[in-house]
Amino acid sequence: MTSSCYYLPQNNEIELFCYAAELQLPVLIKGPTGCGKTRFVEHMGEKLNRPVYTVACHDDLTAADLIGRHLINSEGTYWQDGPLTRAVREGGICYLDEVVEARKDTTVVLHPLADYRRVLPLDRTGETIQAHKNFMLVVSYNPGYQNLLKGMKPSTRQRFISLQFNYPEEQQETEIIMAETGIDSKTARHLVRLGKEIRRLKDHDLQEMVSTRLLVYAALLIEKGFPKRDACVHCLAESLTDDAETFQSLVQLINLHFLSGKEQAA
């Protein structure tokens, strides 16, 4: 089956995911922002022919947002499944993005689903649903943020098979950017190298790393005809730092990649 959702594998993740799906094991994906986690899950959904229900977690997310709630219409009240319940009933991948953002009392509803029981008890309706054979639980988080109050409970964490994602290697990232934007290989390569150089500044000078997503954005602008250097300044320098000196160094770096001699002299 060919899927329309493009994903370039970095490692053995596709194979592992397929095994996990078959064996009905939950999967945890760790990785920095914009490295392809969501894309991967979407891609796997297509490949396995299962719908993907994505929930972006935040600290106001309640268990009801996942499970479902009663609603009222002209005829009275009715129960509406949340995304998790739908996936459990009908079979599908429930993908909880940035799961550590959710409060711990919200994530405990996942526990009976993420072990051998594979059940979801619905307190409000008194129902206990046995998960569909095609139900799969996938969660992701970004371990890069140092946070004392957040982090996964070990009891949650140890219910998952873990996959570590990272920004792709130079060759792969170039390929991804070309495929995503149709940009020429020379520019793509420069963008990727530039990205790699900026990533080296992580911890020392920058809090964040340039994501593949940002590189794709820059390539999109360039491909549409926006000047290369400016595209990089807005996508790669401005979005990463507010510090004037660091910004200047990033611009300097960008100039070295994307200014021709003539432009520079001007």
């Binding site: 309640t62 009663h70 140092q146 946070n147 420069h190 000196e245 770096l253 002299a265």
Partner: protein, 605 residues
């Protein structure tokens, strides 16, 4: 005309082939931070520091004036070693400032590109090629720089055929950097090429090209002199950061203090180890370090009665210390004295801190509101739709279950924070003309106090310094029970630097205090400016290991230790002490007051 002659004369005397362009000059200090960021991005080793090089003397061929100016000339050439990259103090070779600036960046990129030990002529060309391939932005600039340099070199004097041949090869290499050219041997040193990196200053490798031994032994001597100059400058630095040891290289783990101490390893009990007596120090002839010891000793002997305004609280506390070689604790080894400044006047927040404090405050207000939402309350600020729907949909609509509201909670978060600030002598060091590290730490504590007070979080502040194991001064700035007010501000403002940094003991005491707090989360925030050190064996690996142990103890007590440092060397040892995610290095220490609350929020949000 006279002016002209004077200028020419000057250019000869100072050993330039051509007059520079002072109006287009750019200095290293203007670019240093940007350069080091750029160097790291280009793949350079983040542990290396960037600084100015001394000039080196070369015997190049000169006109008759040589006799007047001396046989040797001094050149600033860029080079690197395992510790750092060294740039000319100033560059004014080109008439455009832009080009002079580019040359700095070029050299930084070359340094990132070149291996440490290299065949300098060939590798410089390979690196040049690589950079030109990699960065189109360098190409035009390189062409312009090389062209100018080639023109300037036309004025050089080559007497022998060999010299002429060598000069030709250099010019060829500048125009067409390729890797296959042997460097021809000729008399004298060749005039250096500012686009290239030269071998390390200390190895004398550079004069290798053509050296017959010099008639007078001057070169040798002067060369060592120049090396010493740099090292001396470095040494003052070293004192602040303790010795340059790298904790990951086992051999370098044994600093001199430990070698000395090995024989004394039995005097470990508190009472016996009365002092690191002067006699021991007299016996030391460890060359390089000698001065360091002398000055340290002096500091120690000068120990003023500065305790006068610090009022001791209680009889002092005995704490253990970890002896890594024995793999055991030395119990009751450290004497820690809690102190409180007796005469600190209650003071308002200094005016220069007010604008930032105000801004932070308003940021934090909204932050605080967003974070504490109590759900399903009888009264509150917003409707909880879920509970209302449940109520409406449940068959038995009980009157008692009508908790239809969410309330924004004004109560504290379940978090206690203890801030432990390094008040050692090294914090006396100046950052710029009118700021010392201690000022920044003081401002940071104040700013942080304001911020965390706004958040209503539970916190305490302590500062520490030490003189050996016998005297660890532990300043109470604010304990958990006091509320943050002008009295506390006054205490913070009256903080003065003490002596050394016996970090382990200070962490242990802080752990004891923080562990008693009832909250679920406990953050131990350490602000420091360098490695743990003290005048005894605490300097070096011993101190590192003890601190590491103390950090582990804190963790096992359920605390989260986190270190914020302004020591740019810190990446070498902090991961070992606090773990990969347990620290944050600030490269611009002036920003500490502003960044500290941000880091705190990031950690706890």
């Amino acid at each position: 005309m006279e002016e002209q002659v004077g200028k020419l004369w000057h250019s000869f005397i100072t050993g330039r082939t051509t007059t520079g362009y002072p109006q287009a000059a750019i200095s290293f200090s203007q670019l240093s931070r940007g350069l080091s960021i750029f160097y790291r991005a280009a793949g350079g080793d983040p542990a290396k520091t960037m600084s100015c090089t001394d000039k080196r003397r070369l015997r190049t061929r000169r006109a008759w004036l040589v006799r007047v100016a001396g046989t040797q000339q001094r050149f600033s050439m860029a080079w690197q070693d395992e510790k750092g990259v060294y740039f000319p103090e100033q560059i004014d070779l080109f008439s455009q400032t832009e080009l002079n600036k580019t040359l700095y960046f070029w050299l930084a990129a070359m340094a990132a590109q070149l291996p440490l030990h290299f065949d300098w002529f060939r590798d410089n060309q390979i690196a040049t090629r690589t950079l030109l391939d990699r960065y189109p932005g360098f190409r035009e600039h390189y062409r312009m720089m090389a062209a100018t340099l080639v023109t300037q070199r036309k004025n050089l004097i080559c007497k022998t055929e060999a010299e002429k041949r060598r000069e030709k090869v250099i010019i060829h290499a500048l125009n067409h950097p390729v890797d296959c050219i042997e460097f021809p041997v000729a008399d004298r040193d060749s005039h250096p090429v500012p686009l290239w990196l030269y071998p390390a200053l200390s190895t004398q490798h550079v004069t290798e090209e053509n050296e017959q031994p010099l008639p007078n032994q001057n070169t040798e001597k002067q060369q060592t002199e120049t090396v010493t100059v740099r090292k001396q400058a470095k040494r003052t630095d070293d004192r602040k950061k303790t010795d340059g040891l790298l904790i990951f290289i086992p051999d370098s783990l044994f600093s001199w203090t430990e070698h000395i101490n090995m024989d004394r390893s039995e005097d470990d009990t508190f009472d016996e180890n009365a002092a690191f007596i002067a006699q021991d120090l007299d016996d030391l002839t460890l060359g390089n370090r000698e001065n360091g010891i002398a000055s340290r000793l002096k500091i120690d002997l000068d120990l003023p009665s500065s305790d006068a305004d610090d009022f001791p609280v209680g009889p002092g506390i005995r704490l253990p210390e970890w002896h890594y070689k024995r793999h055991s604790y030395i119990t009751h080894y450290c004497q820690l004295q809690p102190l409180i400044s007796a005469d600190a006047e209650p003071t308002e927040l200094p005016v220069h801190l007010k604008p930032v404090a105000r801004r932070l405050k308003s940021q934090l207000e909204s932050f605080r509101l967003g974070k504490n939402r109590l759900r399903r309350q009888l009264f509150g600020d917003e409707i909880n739709l879920d509970s209302w729907l449940e109520h409406t949909t449940s068959a038995t609509q009980q009157v008692t279950g009508q908790n239809f509201f969410n309330r924004i909670d004004q109560h504290q978060r379940d978090l206690s924070t203890l801030i432990l600030a390094d008040l050692s002598l090294s914090t006396e060091a100046a950052i710029d003309n009118d700021t010392r590290i201690i000022d920044v730490i003081r401002d940071s504590l104040l700013q942080f106090g304001e911020a965390i007070h706004t958040l209503d979080d539970n916190f305490a502040m302590y500062g520490f310094s030490s003189v050996r194991n016998k005297m660890i001064r532990y300043h109470i700035l604010k304990n958990f029970n006091e509320s943050y007010d002008d009295t506390i501000r006054g205490r913070i403002l009256s903080v003065k630097p003490g002596f050394y940094t016996r970090l382990g003991a200070a962490i242990r005491q802080s752990t004891r205090i923080l562990a008693r707090q009832p909250s679920e989360h406990k953050l131990l925030l350490i602000i420091s400016d360098g490695k743990p050190n003290d005048i005894d064996r605490y300097e070096g690996r011993y101190g590192i290991e003890d601190t590491r142990k103390a950090v582990q103890e804190a963790k096992s007590e359920g605390l989260a230790p986190f270190c914020i440092t302004v020591d740019s060397d810190a990446n070498n040892y902090l991961p070992y002490l606090f773990g990969n995610r347990g620290y944050s290095v600030l490269h611009n220490s002036l920003k500490l007051p502003q960044v500290l609350p941000e880091i705190y929020l990031g950690l706890t949000q």
